[in-house]
C-alpha cells in the first residue's frame, strides 16, 4: 500500500498523513504534514504558500492609496483593522492625523470587526470539535454585524473603508441605531454561547490541558493576540502602543494563565465582551466634524522608514514601509499575526492526538491568506 509513491511508514515506524491543503478543519489551504505514532503526533510540519499572492511585491508597484485594498484580502476576517494599520502607517509618514470623528468611527468599525471575527471563530471552534450547532449560533450575530457593515461600507467581508487621512465616506444615518440593536442582541446571546459550549463537560475535556504554550515560548515564538494572552503574556497593542485614541477608552486587556486551548478560548470569549464595552462607550459619542483630513491627490511619503502596529482579531499586525520618496512604497512588509502564531503550532501539537491538533488549530484561529500573504 502506498500513496503518491511514499512509503506507508517511515523508518521509525511512524505513519505520515497529509492534513490539507483540502481538509475540513484547516480553514483554508493550509497543508500540514503530520508524523503519527498511532494517534499520537510526533511531528507537524506546516507547508505554506498555497495562497501566496506576494502582496508585498504587488504593493511595491501600487500607489499609497491603492495598496491598502490588497490588505483586505490578507486577514479577510479583520479587513477593517488591516486597512486601518496601513492608513495609520501612511498617516505617520505624512505626519498627519485623522480627525476625531474618523478616529471614533475607525474604533467602532475595528471593534465590530473583532466581534464578528470572534463570533465566526466561536462557531468554527465548535464545529472543529464536532459540535455543529454553535456554527449557526455564531453566524447569527455575525450576520447582523455584516448587515451594519454592508450599509455603511458597501461591503460585507473585504471592506475598504479606511483611507489615509480618515475614512472614505461618512457613516450611514442608520448606523448608530443599528449598532445599538446589534449590541442588545449580542449581549442577550452571550449566555447562549456559554450554555452551548463553555460549560460542556466534553468541551472542557477536549480543551483543558491541550496544546500548552508557556509564556516564555509564546514570547519566543512571537505569538501575539489571544494566543499569547491565553498564556498570560501581555501584548495588547491597544494598551501598549495606543493608536486612534484607544488610550481614552475604558477596557481591559484580557489575560488568562492557563496556556491551553481552554485559556485561549476564554480570552476570546472575554474579548468579545470588552469589544461590546468599547462600542458602547463610543456609539453615542461620535464627535461631529470632518471624517477625512485633506490630503494631496498623489501621496508621497518622505524618505525613511515607518512602522505601525495594530491589534487585529488575531494579534499584532505590523506594517513596515520603507520609502524612497516616490509615489509607491519601496519595500513594504506585513508582520502578520498568524504567520508567527502558526510557527508555534508544531511546539504545541507535539505529543497530542489528532483531535487535539484540530482543537489547537481552532484556538490559534488561523486565517491562511494572512499566513501566506
Amino acid at each position: 500500500m502506498s500513496l503518491l509513491g511514499e512509503p506507508e511508514l517511515t523508518e521509525d515506524g511512524e505513519f505520515v498523513i497529509n492534513i490539507g491543503p483540502q481538509h475540513p478543519s484547516t480553514h483554508g489551504v493550509l497543508h500540514l504534514k503530520v508524523w503519527l505514532d498511532g494517534e499520537t503526533i510526533k511531528k507537524v510540519q506546516p507547508h505554506l504558500g498555497y495562497i501566496h499572492r506576494s502582496i508585498e511585491k504587488m504593493s511595491e508597484s501600487l500607489s499609497y492609496r491603492n495598496f491598502i485594498f490588497a490588505t483586505s484580502r490578507m486577514d479577510y476576517l479583520s479587513a477593517h483593522i488591516n486597512n486601518e494599520a496601513c492608513a495609520l502607517t501612511v498617516e505617520k509618514g505624512l505626519g498627519i492625523e485623522a480627525p476625531p470623528r474618523a478616529q471614533a468611527i475607525r474604533i467602532l468599525m475595528a471593534e465590530l470587526t473583532r466581534l464578528s471575527s470572534h463570533q465566526l471563530w466561536w462557531g468554527c471552534m465548535g464545529l472543529d470539535l464536532g459540535a455543529v450547532s454553535p456554527f449557526f449560533y455564531g453566524f447569527r450575530e455575525r450576520e447582523s454585524i455584516m448587515e451594519v457593515m454592508e450599509e455603511t461600507c458597501g461591503a460585507r467581508l473585504t471592506q475598504n473603508y479606511m483611507v489615509p487621512g480618515g475614512i472614505m465616506y461618512d457613516i450611514h444615518p442608520n448606523f448608530q441605531n443599528r449598532v445599538k440593536n446589534v449590541l442588545k442582541q449580542i449581549k442577550e446571546n452571550f449566555k447562549e454561547y456559554d450554555d452551548l459550549l463553555t460549560g460542556n463537560v466534553i468541551f472542557e475535556g477536549r480543551t483543558k490541558g491541550v496544546g500548552y504554550l508557556s509564556p516564555e515560548d509564546a514570547i519566543s515564538y512571537g505569538c501575539t493576540g489571544p494566543t499569547a494572552r491565553g498564556s498570560g503574556v501581555s501584548c495588547d497593542v491597544r494598551k501598549w502602543f495606543p493608536y486612534d485614541g484607544y488610550d481614552k477608552l475604558q477596557f481591559n486587556e484580557i489575560l488568562e494563565t492557563g496556556g491551553d486551548c481552554y485559556a485561549r478560548y476564554m480570552v476570546r470569549m472575554a474579548e468579545m465582551r470588552q469589544s461590546v464595552r468599547i462600542i458602547e462607550q463610543m456609539i453615542d459619542n461620535i464627535p461631529e466634524g470632518d471624517f477625512q483630513t485633506k490630503t494631496k491627490a498623489v501621496l508621497k511619503l518622505p524618505k525613511g522608514e515607518f512602522y505601525q502596529r495594530v491589534e487585529t482579531a488575531r494579534g499584532e499586525l505590523g506594517v513596515y514601509i520603507v520609502s524612497d520618496g516616490a509615489a509607491s512604497p519601496y519595500r513594504i512588509k506585513y508582520r502578520s499575526p498568524n504567520f508567527s502564531n502558526l510557527s508555534a503550532l508544531e511546539h504545541m501539537a507535539k505529543g497530542a492526538k489528532i483531535g487535539d491538533l484540530v482543537a489547537i488549530m481552532a484556538t490559534i484561529d488561523l486565517v491562511i491568506p494572512d499566513v501566506d500573504r
Partner: protein
C-alpha cells in the same frame, strides 16, 4: 529605558555599532562579523533583555541587501532595530538567530524564500511559500517574471 539611555548602553557594549535616529525607533547598524554576538547579548543582557523579535525582514537596496530586525523587550518596554548590511548580493549569507528567538525560524525561511539570503546553521533552510524548484527570488528588485501581468 529611553532612547538616549538605550543608545548609551548599546554604544558601551558594542563600540563598533553606528546609530541612526531619524525614524521612530533607534536604529543600530551592526557589522556582519559581530552580528551574532550582538544579538545574543541583546537577548540575554538583563538590562536590555530583548525577548521578543517582532519583525524580521530584508530590504533590497540594489547595491546591497539590508537585514532588519525589530525587537522589543516585554520587561523594559523598549524597542530597538538592528540592521545588518549584506554586501554580497549574489550569495548573501548571515548567521541565524532562530536559536535565540524561535519566531526567527519561519521569518528567516521567508527571507530565504523571497530574497535568497542564506541563514547559516538554520535547522530547516527550505523555501516556505514558493515551490522548491522556483527560479529566482521574487522580492529582489532585479527579479523579472516573464509571466507577470502588469496591472
Amino acid at each position: 529605558m529611553t532612547t538616549e539611555e538605550l543608545k548609551l548602553s548599546v554604544a558601551t557594549l558594542f563600540p563598533a555599532a553606528t546609530f541612526d535616529e531619524t525614524g521612530e525607533f533607534l536604529n543600530v547598524m551592526v557589522n556582519l562579523p559581530e552580528f551574532r554576538n550582538v544579538m545574543k547579548t541583546l537577548r540575554h543582557n538583563s538590562e536590555l533583555s530583548f525577548d521578543s523579535l517582532f519583525c524580521l525582514t530584508c530590504i533590497d537596496w540594489k547595491t546591497h541587501l539590508m537585514m532588519v530586525y525589530h525587537m522589543i523587550s516585554k520587561q523594559h518596554r523598549h524597542v530597538l532595530v538592528i540592521k545588518v548590511k549584506l554586501d554580497n548580493t549574489v550569495k548573501p549569507e548571515i548567521e541565524t538567530v532562530c536559536d535565540i528567538w524561535k519566531t526567527a525560524n519561519f521569518h528567516e525561511r521567508e527571507v530565504f524564500d523571497l530574497f535568497g539570503v542564506n541563514f547559516k546553521n538554520h535547522p530547516d533552510m527550505r523555501r516556505i511559500m514558493l515551490d522548491d524548484n522556483w527560479d529566482g527570488f521574487p522580492l529582489r528588485k532585479n527579479y523579472v517574471d516573464e509571466n507577470m501581468i502588469s496591472l
